[in-house]
Symmetry: C2
Subunit: 470 residues, 2 copies
């Protein structure tokens, strides 16, 4: 027996097959998938039921044992990786992966925290419904992590963040009490909306074990257009027109600079430039509807005609086949891969008031260039919801470790400009360990105090995910 | 001088023209509009700025003076009426009624708490945008009250409750600190979402002074249909079809029983039955879109044909003119007035998981009839979001005060059935004074404890709206 006396108590509580303690067994649970963070733990527990989660947490609280909840380990901020303490218990929800119910009248799905997002999307689709939460990690991320981080993704412009898809949650508090909040109601004005605190709390208040989600109507009819723009400001004017004319059909409104397209064409085989001429910027717009492909195509054609007449874009190409549609998305989706192929670089996941994006882009670039004149910005993102991936690659000819040396100084400039424009230093990835110092810097003292006191209400012993967020 | 020494301190802080103390001056502020509740106060303050609100609250907290925030006084639960204490200060936001900004690129509006909802709807419309919050009291209710109660209304099935329209709030805490949270961001994952606590808190945590709201695309193209159904279960099957086929175009899905239509025809001049035959139930569906009336009409026609083929409704009539459309809505909207004309009655604003509505209607009626066999139910509501107005009128031939005597026993049966079906005892009106005992009965001890401890974080002196909600 190599495990601690406390691990034996966990085994006594939830069974030996739910507790890992051998060094080799727990090693895979101690690091994040990118290898940026590594920690320590005395045990990994993998409960099968909400009641088991309650037993584990009560035991941890009574002994002051820190607990690190863990979903699919796809986070980008180290939020699910334990710190260096050998006392940590990693609590994995992966075995709680049942869809408890799916209702096509109420349009709700009740699913457990360990469900993989792609499986839930499929379950909805099989019932002729849409679970619109969609992000790059959907093949391995888990619902519990999506809720704990209020995940965003590509459909936020239409359907909102994870928070907007949640009708109720079941959660366990650190003292082992179960919050039975799996309501499927659209309207329920009975006191403070406690689930809103748990959503986005990054495992610092308790453990979400299941959620009731809203489903939407499927939108099988799709149209995609790529438009060439002369500037971010022109892209905004185009957004304004599309929003008014197409309303809820607008499923995506993505922006990327000419430099991004150059980079993709140079680094990813088989991708072609969208137009004969090179343009300063590009916008990819997807419209989607429940039915009537001809009407959607006619609407898009009419709007693009108007846009060209009003000089809101220089040129545009509409997908007429599914192959063309996929090729257009590929151009956008390969930007990250192309930048990776180009070498180490600096990422910033920020959001801005949409109308401030052009000013921000100009002033942030000026500040960054004062620190590093030859840096190469590759800026793209979900323009329609104000979310920019403000990424920077090293100057041509510099060594690959350039950003390791200069990254912190550049990031300080970028995030300061974000704050100055009323933006957010973390649009969709959360805080975790990565952005904790910037979080403490840019939140007001009042907000920080309220958050700490709320934390103390839920977790008076301070055992939940120490070293993350607050 | 008739006012108290404390009132003099208020005058010193915010100016004599912002403080009312004479008995006649404050009398109109001491009762709710229906005359169900009446209280007392030493002063009414009407600040013009957020800074004045901060001064007032700091002064009240330092002296333990209770504060009752007040909007347009259109609430139905006594939430804005002071209790009997002569120490109360009523804080009216009515002078803070500026639209601080309106942006048609970001699709946001920043407005102060005292703005009347109808004025905000108009401001949005003038800018070719839609503020979809819409309810009967919109001509006099104020934004601050809408936020404090998380108001619902007729468009929830499409756009959600007030909460879903709020991007940020500015609020003053009881100690006078200002929470500067007027962010206009769609994506902002930086810690606990504090604004969610203030929304729906009924003035018990602090005072919301302004909010950043999301605007939607205007939907000038409308189609309305009334369908006859044989049962609530058939109405649900019809809802399921409409949801899948029409998706986000479904703006309203209202249900009312044949008894409701009989009552309207008997009591409201100029309203005609929708069909030659009388039916057990009726559904009113509104579709709305940004453009293309012909496509919307064709969609509705196709879906109704399918519904009749599949026996999901017995008959249907579609509006072909604006006059017909308005007449259809009148039939639905006059139910409350018809019931009022019929005499005193009992109202319940409840919500249910949508799929549970037919079972609830059957079992609630059985329980109600055990208490009072001859009671007359008039049931209608926003079926599409699970919200039922479960109203009951006295048996034929009984005296008008019948419900005063028997109402409490009947309400206990109705709300118990709501709770048994996983519903909410207050769908959109909140708790206030009216439903406080039922709130304490049906919320779990854990939820009540968390709410009380959160209240203590925001309002440690307990001055905010005493006797309401918690």
């Amino acid at each position: 027996m190599t495990h601690t006396a406390f691990a034996q108590r966990l085994i006594d509580a939830v069974g030996v097959d739910s507790v890992l303690t051998a060094t080799d067994d727990i090693a895979p649970w101690l690091a994040d998938w990118r290898g940026m963070y590594r920690g320590n733990a005395q045990a990994v527990v993998r409960p099968r039921t909400t009641e088991d989660v309650a037993k584990i947490l009560a035991l941890c609280q009574s002994t002051g044992t820190p607990v690190v909840p863990r979903g699919g380990n796809t986070g980008l901020c180290g939020g699910a990786t334990p710190d260096a303490s050998a006392q940590n218990v990693v609590l994995s929800l992966d075995r709680m992966n049942a869809v408890r119910s799916l209702d096509t009248i109420a349009n709700t799905m009740v699913a457990e925290a360990g469900c993989i997002l792609e499986d839930l999307q499929r379950a909805a689709r099989d019932a002729n419904r849409l679970l619109p939460l969609s992000l790059a990690a959907e093949g391995s991320c888990q619902l519990g992590g999506n809720l704990a981080t209020n995940a965003g993704g590509v459909n936020v412009v239409r359907y909102g963040m994870t928070r907007e898809l949640v009708l109720g949650v079941e959660a366990v508090l650190p003292n082992g009490e179960i919050l039975h909040g799996l309501r499927t109601l659209r309207k329920d004005n009975t006191g403070y909306d406690l689930k809103q605190l748990l959503i986005g709390s990054e495992g610092t208040l308790g453990v979400i074990t299941a959620a009731a989600l809203r489903l939407h109507a499927p939108t099988p009819v799709r149209q995609v257009v790529i438009a060439a723009v002369g500037s971010p400001r022109q892209a905004l004017a185009l957004y304004e027109l599309l929003f008014a004319e197409c309303g809820p059909r607008m499923q995506a409104f993505e922006f990327f600079t000419g430099e991004c397209v150059d980079l993709v064409i140079a680094n990813v085989p088989g991708v072609r430039a969208p137009f004969a001429d090179r343009h300063p910027g590009y916008v990819l717009i997807e419209l989607a509807d429940t039915a009537n492909e001809a009407a959607l195509a006619a609407l898009l054609e009419r709007v693009i005609e108007t846009a060209i007449e009003r000089d809101l874009c220089a040129d545009a190409v509409v997908s007429s086949t599914l192959g063309q549609l996929e090729a257009m998305w590929k151009l956008r989706e390969e930007i990250s891969e192309a930048q990776r192929a180009d070498g180490p670089h600096l990422k910033h996941d920020v959001s801005l008031p949409i109308e401030a994006i052009p000013d921000f882009m100009a002033s942030a670039e000026a500040r960054v260039r004062r620190v590093c004149p030859q840096v190469r910005p590759f800026i793209f993102g979900h323009f329609g919801d104000g979310n920019l991936h403000y990424n920077l690659s090293r100057p041509a000819g510099e060594a690959p470790d350039f950003m390791t040396k200069h990254g912190e100084a550049i990031t300080a400039e970028v995030l300061d400009e974000v704050a100055r424009h009323g933006g957010s230093i973390s649009a969709e990835h959360g805080i975790g360990q990565l952005k904790r110092s910037y979080f403490a810097k840019y939140k007001s003292p009042l907000e920080l105090r309220l958050m700490r006191e709320i934390k103390a209400v839920f977790d008076p012993a301070g055992i939940m995910n120490p070293g993350k967020l607050l």
